[in-house]
C-alpha cells in the first residue's frame, strides 16, 4: 500500500504497507496533479488497492467452501446476486461450487431498486433484472450475494424483495467486502475481506465481467 500523492497514507493493512508493489496505479486513475502540477488542487484522489485479482479469487473460493460447509452441501441452496456486481459474484460462486460439488446450484439475481428506502433522496435509478431460478425460493436456503456491505440498507431492501417472492427456509448473506458503518442490525454470514474504512472514503469494486479486471480499492478525495 502506497500513497499516490502528497504525504497522506490511508493505512489499514500493515502487510501491504510493507509490500507496496501492487498499489502503484496506472496513471489514468492517478490524481490529475500527479502528472500535471498546474491542475487545480482539491480534486486529487488518493487510492490504494485493497484486494488484487488473486485475493478476490481466493476470497470467493473460501466463501464457496464456507457456504457449502454451513449448509451441509449444495442440495437446498439458491444463490441470488444483487445487481450489478453481486450478480456477477453469484455467477462466479456458482461456478466454483460446481467445480467442488459437481452440481449446478440454482443461481439468479434479485434487484432491490423498487424496495429502497432512499429512493426519494436521489434521481430515479434504472431497474435491473430480477431472475429467480425456476426451482423458486420456497423453503430453500437463500444466499444473498453483494459486493460491498456498508449501511445494510441494501440488504434490508433485499429481505423485503424476497418476502414478495416467497418464504425461504433461511436467508444468508455473503459479501466480498465488509466496510463497516452499519446503520441497521445486519451481519454477513460470509465475508471476503473486512475493510475498516472511514465514511469519507469510498470502496470501489472492479470485476472483469464489467470493468475488464478484478480489483477492490479504497479511494479518498484529498481535502
Amino acid at each position: 500500500m502506497v500513497c499516490i500523492h502528497g504525504g497522506t497514507v490511508i493505512g489499514y493493512d500493515m502487510a501491504r504497507m510493507r509490500n507496496p508493489q501492487p498499489a502503484m496505479r496506472d496513471a489514468s486513475i492517478a490524481p490529475a496533479s500527479f502528472n500535471d502540477p498546474s491542475r487545480e488542487v482539491g480534486k486529487e484522489i488518493y487510492m490504494s488497492v485493497a484486494l488484487s485479482a488473486q485475493d478476490i479469487s481466493r476470497a470467493l473460493t473460501r466463501i464457496s467452501h464456507e457456504i457449502l460447509e454451513k449448509n451441509q452441501g449444495s442440495s437446498n441452496i439458491v444463490l441470488l446476486g444483487i445487481p450489478t456486481r453481486g450478480a456477477h459474484l453469484a455467477a462466479r460462486i456458482s461456478g466454483i461450487i460446481k467445480d467442488i460439488e459437481g452440481v449446478e446450484v440454482p443461481t439468479g439475481t434479485l434487484d432491490i431498486t423498487l424496495f429502497r428506502d432512499d429512493l426519494r433522496m436521489r434521481p430515479p435509478r434504472a431497474i435491473m433484472p430480477t431472475k429467480i431460478p425456476t426451482s423458486g425460493i420456497e423453503d430453500r436456503d437463500v444466499v444473498l450475494i453483494d459486493d460491498v456491505l456498508y449501511s445494510g440498507r441494501t440488504i434490508r431492501s433485499a429481505l423485503d424483495a424476497l418476502g414478495e417472492i416467497g418464504r425461504p427456509r433461511t436467508v444468508q448473506l455473503a459479501a466480498l467486502v465488509d466496510r463497516g458503518h452499519r446503520e441497521l442490525p445486519i451481519k454477513a454470514d460470509f465475508v471476503g475481506k473486512n475493510l475498516p474504512t472511514s465514511k469519507s472514503q469510498s470502496v470501489k469494486v472492479l470485476l472483469a465481467e464489467i470493468d475488464g479486471r478484478d480489483e477492490v480499492s479504497i479511494e479518498e478525495e484529498a481535502q
Binding site: 423498487l114 433522496m121 434521481p123 430515479p124 435509478r125 431497474i127 414478495e164
Partner: protein, 315 residues
Amino acid sequence: MRHLLSISDLSKVEAISILDTASELARVSDGAVKKLPTLRGRTIVNLFAEDSTRTRISFEAAAKRLSADVINFSAKGSSLSKGESLKDTAMTLQAMGADAVVIRHSASGAAQRLADNQWMSGSVVNAGDGTHEHPSQALLDAFTIRKHLGKGGSDLSGLSVAIVGDVLHSRVARSNVLLLSLLGAKVVLVAPPTLLPIGIENWPATVSYDFDAVVPHVDVVMMLRVQQERMTDLFFPSAREYSRYYGLNAERMSAMKQGAIVMHPGPMNRGLEISAEVADSARSVITEQVTNGVSVRMAILYVLLAGGALEAGSN
C-alpha cells in the same frame, strides 16, 4: 424528468429507459403479489375532465401497484361541471398535497398549462389533451410492438407501422408518429385527405390514401377510432363508404404480412374502422395493449416520482 407532457420532450435514451423499466415492472403484474412499496405515501390525482375507461383505470392500477394513494376525480360530479377553472382546481389539488396529477382534458395544451404555471408543485402526466398528444398510449404501443416484433434491439428499427384512420382528431396518432419514428420505425399514415391535418408533410411519416396498397408491406396495422364526438363537419360521405375504404376487415387482414399484428388504442367502433372478426382474431393484440398499459404507466410514475428532491428541484 419532472413532467410527461409530450413525446417531443423525450430523448431516445429516455424513451427506451421507460420501456426497459416497464418490462421489468411487467414481472410484478405477472407475479402472485401485485404490489411494490416504491411509491408508498405519495398521492396521485387522476383528474379526468373527459371520459375515459382504459387510461383512467390503467393509471389507477399502476399507481396502486406501486402503493401510491390514488384520488380519482372526474368532471362529472365535481365542481369542474359547475364551471370551476383549471387554475382553481389545480390550486385545490396543491392544497391537498398531490405529488402528481394525471390529467385528461378536452383542450389541447391543458397539461402543458398545468405544468408551466406555478399553480402546483407536483408532476404532471398528460393522459390525453384534446387533439394534441397522448404520450402514455404511444409508449404502451411502442412497448407492445417491441415485445412482439422487436428484433432483439432496444429500439424499433427495421419495422414499419401503418397508422390508419382519423389522424386529424387523433392525439394517439400524433404521439405515436413522434415516438415510433424516434425509435427508428418507419411510419405511414393512411387516411382520406379530409382526415389528415394541415402540415402533415412536416411529420416524420409518409402519407397514403390507399389502404390496400399499404397493408401487405407493414409489420403493424394500428387502427384509429373515428372520433365522431369531435367531428363538427362531414368528413366522409357515409360510414359504409369509410368502412369500405379505410376499415380493417378479414379480407384486408388476410393480405397482411406473416406475423404482422393489429392494434387499436380503444375504444373500438366495431363495424366502422375495424370488423369484429379482426378485433377478435389471433393477430389482434388489442387486449394485450391494455395489459401492457399498466406496466408502462407504472414505469412512467416510477421515473417521475421515485426520484427525490434533486429531481424535483430541477426543471
